[in-house]
Each structure stands twice: as structure tokens, then as C-alpha cells.
Symmetry: C2
Subunit: 324 residues, 2 copies
């Protein structure tokens, strides 16, 4: 994420990182290398940014917002670690994954360790309503992953299933990252606005993320990554093409899914990307995400104007315009 527009909360985001490092640290030498490796990989810190910004807008003490930020970032990272095991991924965020260095066993357990650490930070907030939300979001995250895996390679893929999965695995955590600081502020009339803002933004974020799988990747010599389809995931642009009866897309997806991702030839890749572009399906998906975010902006009018609200608007722009 471009550093400049999160500069206004860089101190708080540093505190989030320090708290994560502190709470993950272990007396056991055996676990230290796994921890150190995970601290090397820095994410975009989007979820902690929401926690800090909504905390700032509603007058929550930084110490509390930082705890919320650390909890949601650890929940997010723990699902990424289990994801990497599931997808047998070697690289994440430009770093080797845990499972490529250690084995799947240690990596699964390390994901559990992160998750348990998140819970330990959350209880320090000493707020039952917050813990109910954290427990709920943790169940949503894993339910989303379960649905995604149970539906992988199912043909024909369903649009309702796609939207349910992205809500559970992504949007609900965005929702709570925004809402929990507001709960802590005691301004209960604002909670629903923060929830709705986070949920819609989360859906938009995931749709854009899924679209980027079909866009030329600068790091990969200008080729698109195309990793979702061979993992059995049909994302929004593909679903739009299928819905519109694009026969070639139907055939490609069918072949990839029936072969469990084995048969995805170079010519099919090129053809798929071409149709998604020329048929306007990628644009339609992007436009839908853009619309979700646009509808969202008025929700922010309920919050105090100022540098923090401005920053949230910049994040919204970034989510639409990002290329990674």
C-alpha cells in the first residue's frame, strides 16, 4: 500500500506490529523460527488500519484500537497460513511460505498458534460484546474457507455460493475491523454504519482481488497469474461470462474443473482472458465493486469529518485502483 496516505496513522500501525510481535513471542526455542519468519512478511495492514481509523473517528483510546488491529490482523494471517497449506503455495508476499520451509504439520499448528494468540489479545479488551464479535468472525472465516473448499471444482459454479463465500471469508472480517472500535467507543448508534461500510468494502475488495487474477502481472513478465480457476474457484468475472452463456468459457471452465485443475492449457488461458476482457465481464465485475464502494461513501457522513475520514476515502480509492 502506498505509504504516504497511511502516514497519518503510521505510529499506531507500528504499535500494532509491535504488539503482534510481543504476543506471538514464545519461551520455547522450537517455535521461535516460525514466529520470526512470520514477522518478516508484512501485509498491507488494511484491517488494522480500519480498526485504528474508526477508533480515531469515535474517540477510542489508541491502546484499545491497537489491540483490535492486532487481533484482526492475526486472525487474517492465521487463515492465510492455513490457505497456503491447502493451496500448497510456495510464495506469499514475496517470501517463502511456512509450509515450503517447514512441513504441513508444523505449519497447520502454527496457524492455530496465531489464532489462539489473537484470542489472547482480544480478551485483554475485557469486553464481552467485542469477544462475541471476535468469536463470531472466527467462525465465519472458517465457514467461508470450508464452503470454498467443499464447492471447489463443482460445475456449474453458482453465483450465490461465490457471494456467500466472499462475505464469510473476507467481508465479515472487514465489517468487524470497522465495527469493533465503534462498539468500544460506546457510540452504539454508529455501530451499524461501521458494519455496513466494512461489509460492503470487504465484498468490493475481494471482487477486485479476484479480478486482478486475470490482469497482467508486472512481476510475472506481464502475464496474468490465473491461479483461481485451476484451484477450482470460479470468481465473479467468470461467473458473469457463464451467466451470459459464453460457450467457450463454459467449455474451458468445465475442462479445468473436471480435470481438477490439471488441464488448463496456454491457449485456453489466453482465450479466457481475451473473452473476459472483450465481453466486458472484467469491466462489469470491477464496476460492480466500484458501485458497492460508491454506495458506501455516504455511510461515512455519520462520522466526524477530518484527516481520519479522509484517509478512509483514500483507502476506498486505493482498493478500486490497486494493481496488486
Amino acid at each position: 500500500m502506498p505509504e504516504n496516505f497511511l502516514k497519518v496513522i503510521s505510529e499506531e500501525l507500528n504499535s500494532v506490529e509491535n504488539l503482534i510481535a510481543d504476543k506471538l513471542s514464545s519461551q520455547y526455542a522450537e517455535i521461535k523460527p516460525l514466529i520470526e519468519h512470520s514477522l518478516k512478511k508484512k501485509g498491507k495492514m488494511l484491517r488494522p488500519a480500519f480498526a485504528v481509523l474508526f477508533g480515531k473517528m469515535t474517540g477510542v483510546e489508541d491502546e484499545k484500537s491497537v489491540k483490535v488491529g492486532a487481533t484482526v490482523e492475526l486472525l487474517h494471517n492465521s487463515t492465510l497460513i492455513h490457505d497456503d497449506v491447502i493451496d500448497n503455495a510456495d510464495i506469499r508476499r514475496g517470501q517463502k511460505t511456512h509450509n515450503s520451509i517447514w512441513d504441513n504439520t508444523l505449519t497447520v499448528l502454527y496457524g492455530d498458534f496465531m489464532f489462539a494468540t489473537a484470542m489472547n489479545i482480544a480478551v485483554e479488551l475485557e469486553n464481552i460484546e467485542v469477544l462475541r464479535r471476535i468469536a463470531g468472525v472466527s467462525k465465519s472465516l472458517v465457514t467461508g474457507e470450508l464452503l470454498q473448499n467443499a464447492n471447489a471444482f463443482n460445475f456449474p459454479p453458482k453465483k450465490e455460493t461465490y457471494f456467500e463465500i466472499i462475505k464469510l471469508k473476507t467481508a465479515v472480517l472487514f465489517e468487524q475491523s470497522c465495527a469493533i472500535p465503534v462498539v468500544l467507543s460506546g457510540k452504539s448508534q454508529l455501530v451499524e454504519f461501521a458494519e455496513k461500510f466494512g461489509l460492503q468494502l470487504g465484498l468490493a475488495f475481494q471482487i477486485v482481488d479476484d479480478c486482478l487474477d486475470f490482469k497482467a502481472d508486472i512481476k510475472k513478465l506481464g502475464k496474468p497469474k490465473l491461479i483461481d480457476l485451476p484451484e477450482g474457484k470460479a470468481t465473479y468475472p467468470v461467473l458473469l461470462a457463464l451467466e451470459n452463456g459464453e460457450q467457450e468459457v463454459v467449455e474451458i471452465v468445465e475442462k479445468v474443473f473436471y480435470s481438477k485443475g490439471e488441464k488448463f492449457e496456454e491457449k485456453d488461458k489466453k482465450r479466457l482472458v481475451k473473452i473476459l476482457k472483450s465481453g466486458g465481464y472484467l469491466k462489469k465485475a470491477f464496476d460492480y465493486a466500484r458501485q458497492l464502494i460508491r454506495d458506501n461513501l455516504r455511510l461515512l457522513e455519520n462520522f466526524e469529518d477530518g484527516v481520519y475520514r479522509e484517509t478512509l476515502l483514500k483507502i476506498c480509492d486505493f482498493i478500486i485502483d490497486r494493481e496488486f
Copy 2:
């Protein structure tokens, strides 16, 4: 577990099972088969029994003790599910494991789902101190598993590591299963007695469990199971033999560990069991567990005399005398 001596709390244990079934239930058809399969397998329900009995002795409402029982049983079961993936086990409690029916991916996620469900039940107790203990115990459980895996096949195995692992992966959950209802009772002066009782009993339970790996298994044609050593785990009787410089045991363990469990021949198995018996190492380990429990009994004198305390004493006997 012989049904008769838990009859006194059979209604409450049924409520624990019903609560688990209710809270695991999901609106998503994709997850239902995994849930149904896990409800088929019934464990000994030891941990919920502790929760209910300590609740009864300290006057906690049954509804609360039942929630504690469901939480600790789900935490326990979620670690078993991840364990089965790690050990590539086919059978647990006479039933096919999840990973033998579904794949490792879905099984790992289903373990996470159980864990998240445990957290959702725990928050219903609306008690921060209890949630702090649940979050702490979840971190201990996974730390114990991490240590066990990180130390697997390490030669020579260390006794201190063994005791640290069984404390973290087993005894701490026993400790909190006993202590949390007492916390809920408000009788804070009794909490430390419940903690100590649970912790010691948990250590004893795991030592006995580990010893049973070397005892003839009736279901397996009278042969011992011997599954720990080829998984890289040296348990207490083996550690005692190594400590005493039993050269043959040293050689067998070294061979098994250096071959990552591949080289464990029939003659070595027979020889190992014979030495552990004739050298008195199995007896010494059992005696140590028995001593831990005996030291423990006086702690119960702090609690109300009656049928529930009697039942705890019977559980102590059962733990020492059990053959499965």
C-alpha cells in the same frame, strides 16, 4: 468409561452433548456431513465430567457448567481432529477419522470450525476471567502440539521436554475444566485447589495413556499398539529406561528415530516391551502416575462431601486402572 459411575451426572452430560450438536449445526449443507460424522464418535467425556462435577460441588447453575463442559470437549476434539491429520490416522474411537473420509484440507478446516464453535459457546458465559482462561488454554494446547512435533525424532529425547509437552497438551485442559466452574461459582479461595487437582490428574492421565501404548491391546489380538515411538515420541517408560542406560533401548530408539519411524522391526518391538516390563520401567511410570493422583486426593477435602466428590474419586481410580 463404565457408565454406572457417571450415572449421577448423566443428564448433565447429555445436555453437554446436545449443546455441542446444537452449536456445531450449520445452515450450510456442505458442512453437515462433517458435523454428523463427528457427532457419531463419542469420547469418554472426562473433561465435561470434571466441569459438571466441580460445578455441582461449588453450587454453579447446571446451565453454566454444561457450557463449560461443551467448550472444553470441543477444544479437545478439535485438537484430536488436527492430530489425526498429522498422524495420518484412519481410525479413532472405533470410527473412521474425518481425514480418511474427506481430505486433509477439509479436515483441518473442520478442526478450526470446532475450535471457533468452542469460542462461541465460551463467550455465552459472559465472564472475562473465564474467557481469559479459555484463550490461555487454547494457546497451551497448540503450543504443546507444536513442541511435540518440533521435538519428534530428536535423539536423545529429553524428560523435561516430555513433561512440558504433556502439561501443555493435556494437563492444562484438565486444570481449566476443573477450575473454570469454580471461578463461575465465585468461591475464589477454592480455585487454586481445583487447578492443582486438574493439573496433576491431567499429568497422571497422560502418563497412563502413554503407558497403555506398551500394554497388550485386547482388540489387536493381544498385541501392544506401539504407535508412539514410530511417530517420534519417547514417552515416560522409555525415558526412564534411557535414563537408566538400558543399552538395547538406546539402540532401538536411536534406530527408530533416525529412520523417522521406518525401521521398527518385530523383534525390536518385542524386545522393547520385554525390557520395559522386566526392568520395571512401565511399573515405575504407572507408580508415578498413581502417586500424583494419591497426592491429589487431599485437595478434594476442600470441597463439599457428597455424591459428586465421590464420583471424582471414582474417576481417579478409573484413570489408574483403565485399560483403554
